[in-house]
């Protein structure tokens, strides 16, 4: 072999070796970057800062109890997993009511009726519960349709009531309430719907006229279905609805919808109301006024009240009523297996040839078994029973006399 080729061969091999080394180092740098990225997520900063806040206010000991790592509220019924509490760790923490976000306690009253484990965060606030960085979580990122309905958005749309936007979400469940506490803006809009007679032309919540379009699921429409050619400002459904309520003709030339001269606030309220009309799938127990309850009739209520607190309450408490009625005291047997105890004084005598007193103190037959195992009665209770049964017998006799007359 000649030496020239030998050298050429070596040169190419040496170059390759150098390149492999460089590539190796590059690979290490890239892996290093990824590891660094893994070790320093945004939420870790928030968690350590929260720990400082707690340490300062409540001491190191309490700070040590703060859970670390990604946190989530998983609500199976709503198919929801909200990681908001990864950074907003103070939500259920007492004593940070005046803190600043994300280290601020959530108003407690509303959480009591809407507990976190049942509602999560995004059910009311919107935003992207899946996300674990602020931008994506607050949902102002591309491809997320439901941004956080909070301060930023209210300021952007110049909505005077800061909780107004969020009430869209309240109305997902409270849709059929006439008025709901804390939902002033939607309440106002609902009032307007009645006052202005929207149902003359539109179907609202399933009833109304057919002159205008059915609005029952207006909130379900996608923004693509609206024409924004004549809309000034930011192209959003909210802008469209607000502008349309203020002056329908300006947006839809051929419309016959009259201009009601709504104020800005009212137009925004109505826009929020129609946007809340969505096809939301809710488990029955989430609907405030659901009919999936066994509501007793007045008759049933009266009967229950009489049984519980009437003159025969003793026999209900002691569960005699399971088998026996005490007709004169208003006690009705659940299963009428035993004889009416109103006639016990006579009845015992004729059946067993013993006085009531004697029988109850030393029962025989079925009553012996029942009173010794299932419904044990003390001596005092037996005496009380005897007393009450005599009373019932007197009443029964009077009743009979009255009937005869």
């Amino acid at each position: 072999m000649n030496h020239k080729t030998m050298k050429q061969k070596l040169e190419f091999a040496a170059k390759d070796k150098l390149y492999v080394s460089i590539a190796g180092v590059l690979f290490l740098i890239v892996t290093g970057y990824i590891s660094y990225d893994y070790l320093t997520p945004e939420w870790k900063e928030y968690q350590s800062e929260f720990s400082d806040v707690v340490a300062e206010k409540f001491g190191e000991e309490r700070a040590a109890t703060i859970p670390a790592g990604l946190q989530q509220i998983y609500v199976k019924d709503l198919n929801l997993s909200d990681r908001c509490i990864t950074c907003h760790q103070a939500v259920e923490w007492k004593g940070l009511e005046n803190g600043h976000n994300p280290y601020k306690t959530h108003p407690a009253a509303i959480l009591k009726s809407h507990p976190l484990e049942k509602f999560g965060c995004t059910t009311c606030h919107s935003g992207q519960g899946y996300a674990t960085d602020m931008n994506s979580a607050h949902g102002f990122s591309e491809h997320w349709e439901d941004p956080l309905l909070g301060k930023e958005l209210s300021e952007f749309y110049v909505v005077s009531n800061k909780s107004a936007m969020m009430q869209v979400n309240c109305n997902k469940c409270h849709r059929f309430d006439k008025e709901t506490k804390g939902m002033d803006v939607i309440n106002r809009a609902k009032q307007l719907v009645n006052e202005k007679g929207c149902r003359a032309c539109h179907v609202v919540n399933g009833r109304g006229g057919t002159v205008g379009p059915d609005l029952t699921f207006e909130g379900e429409k996608s923004p693509e279905q609206f024409s924004f050619e004549r809309v000034k400002g930011f192209a959003s459904m909210f802008t469209w609805h607000t502008a349309h309520f203020k002056n329908p003709k300006e947006l839809v030339g051929e419309t016959i919808m009259p201009n009601f001269g709504f104020t800005s606030n009212d137009a925004q309220a109505l826009a929020l109301l129609v946007m809340s009309w969505k096809k939301t799938k809710l488990p029955v127990e989430y609907i405030p006024s659901n009919n999936f309850k066994d509501v007793p009739t007045t008759e049933e209520m009266e009967k229950e009240e009489r049984m519980k607190n009437g003159p025969g309450a003793f026999f209900v408490q002691k569960r005699c009523f399971v088998c026996h009625s005490v007709s004169s005291l208003g006690v009705e047997a659940a299963a009428q297996i035993g004889p009416d105890l109103a006639m016990a004084v006579e009845d015992v005598q004729s059946r067993f040839g013993r006085t009531l007193d004697d029988f109850l103190m030393k029962p025989t037959g079925t009553m012996e078994v029942v009173l010794s195992t299932m419904l044990p009665l003390t001596k005092e209770e037996r005496l009380e029973a005897i007393d009450k049964l005599r009373n019932a017998y007197e009443l029964k006799k009077k009743e009979k006399l009255a009937v005869k007359k």
């Binding site: 040496a14 460089i22 180092v25 290490l28 990681r83 009591k112």
Partner: protein, 181 residues
């Protein structure tokens, strides 16, 4: 070519330096690759360790104590028995301490006299495991079959908000635990 020209001493030395530098560089390269490969291996395994869980909570509400029926209530999806004896409550896990099958609460035909931890007791029910025949007394003490330990007892408490009974399957308690309402 090198062989044709006699190499000077100096040149040879620089050649040696050159080659040692080359070797060093090569070692750095190979080392980096190995290190990165290790890191990638770690990352791969790490990705399979979940950071969030979609499991139901270990602490949950059962309902108002007054609405619970007397005696035993079985909460199926949590493998938990809740006992109500008048005003006192306690809960025993239904998960067999052998291999985790759900034990069945069985009423005895006749009350049975047993000795548990040197104490004589009358029991009216037992727990039987369907998988490998483990048996437990009414208080969860194991007495037959492969079960190595008594059934677990979990803490019960009342919710300060709405007075509902809360079972906390994260906290184990002694067999004498009773929640009195």
């Amino acid at each position: 070519m090198e062989e044709k020209k006699p190499l000077s001493h100096h040149k040879q030395e620089s050649e040696e330096q050159h080659s040692s530098r080359r070797e060093f560089l090569q070692k750095v390269g190979v080392g980096s690759v190995l290190l990165s490969a290790g890191a990638v291996g770690f990352q791969t395994l790490r990705s399979l360790v979940p950071n969030v869980l979609y499991e139901s909570a270990r602490k949950f509400k059962i309902g108002l104590p007054t609405q619970l029926s007397e005696g035993v209530t079985f909460i199926e999806d949590k493998q938990l028995y809740i006992f109500k004896e008048g005003k006192s409550f306690y809960s025993i896990s239904a998960s067999c301490t052998h291999l985790g099958c759900t034990v069945k609460h069985t009423k005895l035909n006749q009350p049975k006299e047993v000795e548990i931890h040197g104490e004589k007791k009358t029991i009216t029910s037992e727990f039987h495991c369907p998988c490998h025949g483990s048996k437990y007394y009414a208080d969860g003490t194991n007495y037959a079959g492969p079960a190595p330990r008594p059934l677990k007892w979990y803490k019960l408490e009342l919710s300060p908000d709405d007075g509902q009974l809360i079972a906390d399957m994260g906290i184990e308690v002694e067999q004498n635990f009773r929640l009195t309402v």
